[in-house]
């Protein structure tokens, strides 16, 4: 093959002196600096570039922009990404791309057999055919056969993703004539302007056209505008940047592609702008006729771009089919490039003289339509039909068919920002309705279809945006430009002659006009329903070129005007966006950072198996020695606590100090049980309810002094409790004098537990009298332990004598080392969360995630005493009492002893009557191998459980029924003499 056989000798904005090599479907090609993948392929004469989604029909490149519905590629190598429109991939040396939807290649595609099954693949085909026995059975198969690009498998080597936040007074989207004009005027007024454009080069449609501005080529004006903007320090311009969404309160999401080098960065901007100017131009739409999807059938606007910007001759013999004036410029452009333009087929009876002048000398077939395109892998000719006779009147041979169904203002972003649209009959398109909204359209996006109109509109909108953002009103300064006429006659489809000829309304998703009519016949009326049923407009291109034809066909079939029909919702993203770019740097360990205590490193060095515990804390699960298994390590740790001494890191426990005259009142309201009666120096277990009577958290509250308390919470619920307490303080009782300070990270604690705990604290050296008479259970003392200033609390989560030594974080690692030194002769064991679970289960202490779900109240847990105080109001009491009034049976906390002592019941197992397959009467909340009972023990919630102590309950597990004796929910030291010792 001749290299670049379709490249024009001169012209264009490509750099012929910088050739680039690239691969497409495994073959080597050459392009130039400035090419896109699409233009480079076309320059090589490659029109067959893809296979379609459902029918695997041969497809080509259809447009030159982000509206492309024909050719999506997967990029390989360092830029690996899927589903990129070939028209939007800047060519780079070494670029590797392959077509999606075809295997092994577009020329020889095995899936092409679907074309011959086409009659069997109607609208809603998937819904209708693959429902029995389950869609899920077929889905993977269908996705593989029809699928789009695969998700990249490996790591993104060297690929960087980034998020940046910015603010702007005026964000201008689109650097075409309207956008540049708007940016210039807003910036001259002094506003902070951000100008973003999806192309590397500014200019928009001016890059493609041949209009004149101030008597010169438009590039001159673009250059001077860019130079002026570059000289202002209140302007930031981004190229290669697609604004893909507008969220509430003018937050614009913009994807910036890092340029042309491989592995370049993707940066997602989140820009909060006072005003947004949408100057995104207009998008040409297709015409709907038989075989309008053949390779070589392209949008008329694409010809302008490929000839003028990329210097590519798209074919040798062309036919142009249009319903509006703009395609005449394309015909003229092809003719000037030396391409034989054989005819313009215009559906209109009258064509404005100004339009004809743009294609001077080309034969015009007025009042005619193209009824069918011929050829399979490349268009080879067209059949022309006269509209007045309804008869085919002529066949024309060609290898390029340009068509234009008119122009849709690109109102996507405007619509996303909740701007209203109306159907404009003169333009046969939806246009934005001016509103007080902080988002406004300018230029073609606002329905101004001429160059002079766009420049003026951009200036007006730019000035207004700056004024609205608080800047002075400046006069418009406009260059002189042409005011080309634009007129159109709506043409939604051309009826095919005979069945079996497909007329596509959505080329990417393979939806035909027949599918739309079928959906209507089957009873779908609403536009949104038809869209979902046929998938028309739901592809990667979001139906940018085809949606309005679908609306036109629906309206015509129902005898409605388009203004009566309503449109579908425009959704983000405007163009495909990589997930990596949305995630930015929020991946891996920084997605949600871990929380550590000062001894994490010690734990790891000690060989602990690290778990993630509530609220992202990294906590030791257990500390295996040598080849110990989990069970062996846990048994050893538990025995150390029960018979000798152990120590665990309790630092992640939530801790809050409440200080003020009304601190007691606040706690009284927050806790179900009474706190006020607590004497300074003492602590009490408490339960916090939400107002609907559910358990929010439990913990121990210590009264530090008359007006000062320390409340502890479970690790996982610390943030929730913080929010709850602050809500009470600030919203419910703002008049109360109380301050809440979170001190979770201000105090770290080592909890020494076991019969020998006192010896260890004594061994550390302390000025606190440890005698149980002077420092009893549920009290606290301030003092020095080792050489560290400490608060020592006598609480117990294991049922053993415990000292919770709280020190400042800076002292904690040193305290920990001292404890291990002093404890060594006693065989002190560091204890992980697995052993804590065993120890608390033996004792029947609650664990919120296990025994407490969204149904239980304190009575169910055997803690009716919590509710017995004579309190006027505390949150949740009313609802608990109310719920219990009905007397319906409740699930109550019980102990369970499997009849077979060596049989464990999986935690979470349902309890059912006799183990039958029937409604559950409870579940097993915890089951551990007890070191004191030397057997498996369990806790569970069982309907009317307390009345059933002594009876047998049955856990129903897969393949077995496990009987267990119902006992009181405490297996160890029920009198509490150990923890009080």
């Amino acid at each position: 093959m001749m290299p670049n056989s379709y490249r024009l000798k001169d012209g264009g904005r490509i750099d012929r002196s910088k050739p680039l090599r690239f691969q497409f479907n495994g073959r080597e090609y050459r392009g130039c600096q400035g090419d896109t993948l699409a233009s480079a392929l076309l320059a090589n004469g490659i029109h067959l570039t893809a296979r379609s989604f459902k029918y695997h029909r041969p497809r080509g490149i259809i447009s030159a922009g982000c509206e492309e519905p024909g050719t999506f590629v997967e990029l390989l190598g360092p830029d690996s990404s899927g589903n990129r429109a070939a028209t939007m991939v800047p060519l780079a040396d070494g670029l590797k791309a392959k077509s999606v939807n075809c295997w092994p290649s577009p020329e020889f595609d095995l899936g092409g057999i679907n074309q011959f099954l086409a009659g069997l693949l109607p609208a809603g085909f998937y819904y209708k055919t693959f429902m029995w026995p389950s869609w899920r059975l077929y889905e993977p198969l269908i996705r593989r056969a029809a699928g789009l690009a695969e998700a990249p498998a490996g790591e993104f080597d060297g690929r960087e993703f980034e998020t940046r936040h910015a603010h702007a007074d005026v964000l201008v989207v689109g650097a075409g004539p309207a956008g540049l004009s708007a940016a210039l005027h807003a910036a001259r007024a002094g506003a902070r302007v951000m100008l973003v454009d999806e192309n590397a080069e500014a200019g928009g449609s001016l890059l493609d056209g041949r209009e004149r501005i101030d008597g010169a080529a438009p590039g001159e004006w673009v250059r001077s505008a860019i130079d002026e903007l570059a000289g202002m320090n209140n302007v930031r311009r981004l190229g290669n940047s697609t604004a893909w969404g507008i969220r509430e309160h003018n937050l614009a999401l913009i994807l910036e592609r890092g340029g042309e080098k491989p592995g370049a960065m993707l940066r997602n901007w989140r820009v909060r702008a006072a005003r947004i100017v949408v100057a995104t131009g207009a998008i040409e739409r297709t015409l709907v006729f038989a075989n309008n999807d053949r390779p070589g059938v392209m949008l008329a606007s694409a010809a302008l771009a490929y000839v003028n910007r990329f210097a590519v001759a798209l074919g040798r013999k062309a036919v142009v089919f249009t319903n509006n004036d703009s395609a005449y410029a394309s015909a003229g452009c092809l003719k000037n490039a030396g391409i034989d333009v054989r005819a313009i087929v215009d559906c209109r009876r009258n064509v404005p003289e100004a339009a004809k002048l743009r294609a001077d000398g080309v034969r015009i077939l007025r009042g005619c339509v193209v009824s069918e395109a011929h050829g399979r892998k490349r268009v080879s000719g067209v059949t022309v039909r006269s509209r007045s006779t309804g008869e085919d009147c002529e066949s024309i041979e060609c290898d390029l068919l340009l068509h234009s169904g008119g122009w849709n203002p690109a109102v996507h972003l405007f619509s996303q920002s909740r701007g209203d649209l109306r159907f404009d009959d003169a333009l046969a398109a939806y246009v934005p309705v001016a509103s007080s909204h902080p988002v406004a359209c300018a230029g073609a996006a606002g329905g101004r279809m001429t160059l002079a109109g766009s420049l003026a509109d951009g200036a007006r909108v730019g000035i207004e945006a700056a004024v609205a953002a608080g800047f002075p009103r400046i006069p418009a300064a406009l260059p002189c430009a042409s005011e080309d006429s634009y007129s159109i006659e709506a043409l939604w489809n051309v009826e095919p002659r005979g069945a079996g000829r497909k007329c596509f309304v959505d080329i990417l998703n393979d939806v035909t006009d027949g599918d739309i009519r079928l959906a209507l016949r089957e009873g779908y009326r609403n536009v949104e329903q038809v869209k979902r049923y046929t998938t028309g407009g739901m592809g990667l291109d979001q139906g940018k070129t085809g949606n309005i034809n679908i609306l036109g066909i629906i309206a015509a079939a129902q005898g409605l005007a388009l203004s009566e029909l309503g449109t579908t919702t425009f959704r983000s993203p405007y163009a495909p966006v990589e997930f990596g770019a949305i995630g930015g740097t929020r991946s891996g360990p920084v997605f949600l950072p871990y929380r550590h205590t000062p001894v994490t490193a010690w734990n790891i060095a000690r060989g602990a198996v690290i778990y993630e515990a509530g609220a992202r804390w990294r906590r030791p699960g257990y500390f295996p020695i040598g080849a110990e298994t989990l069970d062996e390590a846990v048994e050893r740790e538990c025995k150390a606590v029960r018979n000798g001494v152990g120590v665990y890191d309790g630092s992640p426990l939530g801790k809050f100090e409440l200080n003020g005259r009304d601190a007691s009142k606040l706690l009284e309201l927050a806790y179900a049980n009474s706190i006020e009666s607590l004497k300074p120096g003492r602590g009490r277990y408490g339960i916090m309810l939400s107002d609907d009577g559910l358990i929010l958290d439990d913990g121990v509250v210590f009264r530090l002094s008359k007006s000062r308390y320390l409340a502890t919470t479970s690790t996982a619920n610390a943030d929730l409790v913080h929010r709850h307490l602050e809500f009470i303080r600030q919203v419910e009782r703002p008049e109360w004098d109380v301050k809440i300070t979170e001190v979770t990270s201000q105090w770290c604690n080592a909890t020494i537990c076991g019969p020998q705990a006192r010896e260890i604290v004594e061994g550390l050296g302390t000025d606190i009298d440890l005698d149980p008479e002077s420092f009893p259970f549920m009290t606290w003392r301030q003092g020095r332990v080792a050489e560290f200033s400490s608060r020592v609390f006598r609480v117990s989560f294991t049922g053993e004598l415990s000292f919770e030594i709280n020190v400042a974080p800076r002292d904690f690692a040193a305290l920990w080392d001292r404890i291990m030194d002093v404890g060594a002769p006693y065989g002190i064991a560091p204890v992980g969360s697995e052993s804590n679970h065993v120890l608390r289960t033996e004792k029947g202490f609650l664990s919120l995630g296990h025994e407490v779900d969204g149904t239980v109240d304190p009575y169910d847990l055997g803690m009716g005493w919590i509710m017995s105080g004579n309190k006027l109001d505390s949150i949740g009491r009313r609802s608990v009492e109310l719920r219990r009034q009905g007397g319906a049976p409740r699930r109550e906390l019980v102990g369970l002893l499997p009849l077979d002592p060596n049989m464990a019941i999986p935690e979470g197992s349902p309890l059912t009557p006799e183990g039958r397959k029937t409604r559950t009467e409870g579940f097993v909340s915890a089951c551990v191998k007890s070191v004191v009972k030397e057997r498996w023990i369990a806790l569970g919630l069982l309907e009317r459980g307390r009345a059933r102590i002594g009876q047998t309950a049955h856990a129903r597990v897969k393949g077995a029924i496990i009987p267990a004796k119902v006992v009181a929910p405490c297996f160890y030291d029920p009198e509490g003499s150990k923890l009080r010792s």
């Binding site: 969220r247 509430e248 009313r878 609802s879």
Partner: protein, 85 residues
């Protein structure tokens, strides 16, 4: 991503806040004085109108204030609560 105006910190992203439910109804001073029906009504039937509503938001990743904002559920327009001003 809403932009919420905190009276202490100014306009901030919604991600700094935590939603705290409708603010139209205050918690009854003495729940025990309410009939069961009225209490259940208060707990479970908050109104959800299309239009302006009062809402609690906690500026959790900011100054820590619980603020009341007036948000239009149709347009997302947010104004400070006039009662607070």
């Amino acid at each position: 991503m809403l932009e919420i105006c905190c009276p202490f910190c100014g306009r901030r992203n919604e991600s700094e806040f935590s939603y705290g439910g409708p603010a139209a109804m205050r918690r009854p001073e003495r729940p025990e004085d309410l009939s069961a029906e009225d209490w259940v009504e208060y707990l479970t039937v908050p109104s959800n109108p299309l239009g302006p509503v009062l809402e609690h938001w906690w500026h959790a990743r900011g100054c820590g204030a619980w603020i009341t904002v007036r948000r239009d559920t149709g347009t997302h327009e947010i104004k400070p609560d006039s009662d607070d001003a």
